[in-house]
Amino acid sequence: MFDFRFYEIWREPEYIDRLLHGCLVSIELSTAGGILGMILGLVLVSAQGKSSPKLLSGFAQGYIETVRNTPFIVQLFFVAFGLPQLLHYRWSFEASALLAMTLNFSAYFAEVVRAGISSIPTGQIEAAGSLCLTKRQIFLDIVLPQALCNVYPSLTSQFVFLFLTTGLISEIGVEDLTWAGRFVADRNFRDFEVFIVLTVLYVAIVFGYKAIFNALNRYAFPWRSIR
């Protein structure tokens, strides 16, 4: 009954090439999306600061809620098919994927970090104020590092969650890991084996990410282990 034929995947060097290349594309795009999303996320966080104009902070809030309460696939299709038509400007599928991932992650990032910021005790801000630091310095030197440290675990799991949905970018023609898998499955008709292999690859990449996040954690937040 169980007639596994994984060799149907390794047999063709082209299949292996495609899968490896797909891995690379997936990793590259989600890493880039993660980093850009972080930057945009920080912008969103500061736009929600107490001293920023109501309109701006309202806009940031609305943006975050919109992204968090709609599926990634809809955002992706809008960015890939809607926006170019609207702006009369075409760009590559990879660019669309990257943009969608950036926009998506930035909202989750901003939400998590904002929660982290509001959990910083007021004593920290008062102490910094009494030392004559300006509002901006207090935010950048005191509040943000501590907030990032506190929410780091949720940030990384949020990123992993995003990574696990990136397979959807194959739907707009980006040749990522999922795309490579479907390419192979369409040719050797071993869908089950192919998707098992794909799953293993995704899980392996997640492990890689987690190892990197752990190392980064120790490097970036050396004070954490002590408390």
Binding site: Q124, A127, S130, C132, T134, P222, W223
Partner: protein, 269 residues
């Protein structure tokens, strides 16, 4: 309850007014508060406070919980905003103007009950940060100054540890060194020893006594009466948002004038 507190302190302390600013800074009082009041919503925490502190003077503030001691001292570097009257610190009047607030904060150090060290910075970085940001000192100079004050509070060897690795007493001494690093003219203490285990209280008080000997202007909220006797020039008793009584420590402790003061001293001594 409030009726006998009406006797607002008149005392000999008058705000000196000079037309020449620079002279006022040099010769004027460190702190002068005139008919200052503060409300939290409808609740009046501070009622018509008048207080003048000269440079070099050491003032201990005591009083029952909720009497507004913390609020008063936090008004002096504008961690709290007063609504009525005026506060002049080191010749600068505290207003909405952030420039003035910063000018005051540069000259006023503060030590908190709960230390409020920055947990993500080492002891040394805690001391260096504000020097670099507020005084724009070079890293080397800031480090030198920091080490000088860490030595003064007797924990230079802990410089590379994080606050989480230190005992409460050590943390509070770092907090004192951190405040001193900006070389303030005035130091504010808000119950600096009440979050400490009894065996650590003395190491912090010793540091403060040492600071008093250097001639620092100090305003200290504390219930450590031994410390008050030893270093204070004046003890102020607050109740229900008012300064009820003030006197030199000897007279204050041996011959309190008001019923509330007597009751309070009876409780804590």
């Amino acid at each position: 309850m409030f009726w006998f507190c009406r006797t607002a302190v008149k005392g000999p302390y008058r705000v000196q007014k000079g037309n020449d600013m620079s002279e006022t800074v040099a010769a004027g009082p460190a702190v002068s508060i005139r008919s200052m009041s503060k409300w939290y919503g409808d609740f009046q925490v501070l009622k018509n406070i008048n207080l003048t502190v000269k440079f070099g003077e050491r003032v201990v503030i005591c009083g029952p919980s909720g009497s507004g001691k913390s609020t008063l001292i936090r008004c002096l570097n504008r961690l709290e905003v007063h609504q009525d009257g005026d506060i002049v610190v080191n010749g600068v009047e505290l207003t909405m103007d952030m420039k003035k607030v910063e000018a005051v904060r540069r000259e006023v150090g503060m030590v908190f009950q709960s230390f409020n060290l920055f947990p993500h910075l080492t002891v040394l970085q805690n001391c260096v940060l504000a020097q670099r940001r507020a005084l724009k000192r070079s890293k080397q100079e800031a480090t030198e100054v920091a080490m000088r004050f860490l030595t003064q509070v007797r924990i230079p060897e802990q410089r590379d540890k994080f606050p989480g690795q230190l005992s409460g007493g050590q943390q509070q001494r770092v907090a004192i060194a951190r405040a001193l690093c900006l070389e303030p003219k005035i130091m504010l203490f808000d119950e600096p020893t009440s979050a400490l285990d009894p065996e650590m209280v003395n190491e912090v008080l010793d540091t403060m006594v040492g600071m008093a000997k250097t001639g620092m202007t100090m305003l200290c909220v504390t219930h450590e009466m031994g410390f008050a006797r030893q270093v204070a020039d004046r003890v102020i008793f607050m109740d229900a948002g008012q300064i009820v009584e003030q006197n030199d420590p000897e007279s204050f402790f041996t011959n309190p004038q008001h019923e509330r003061t007597k009751a309070f001293l009876g409780q804590i001594l």
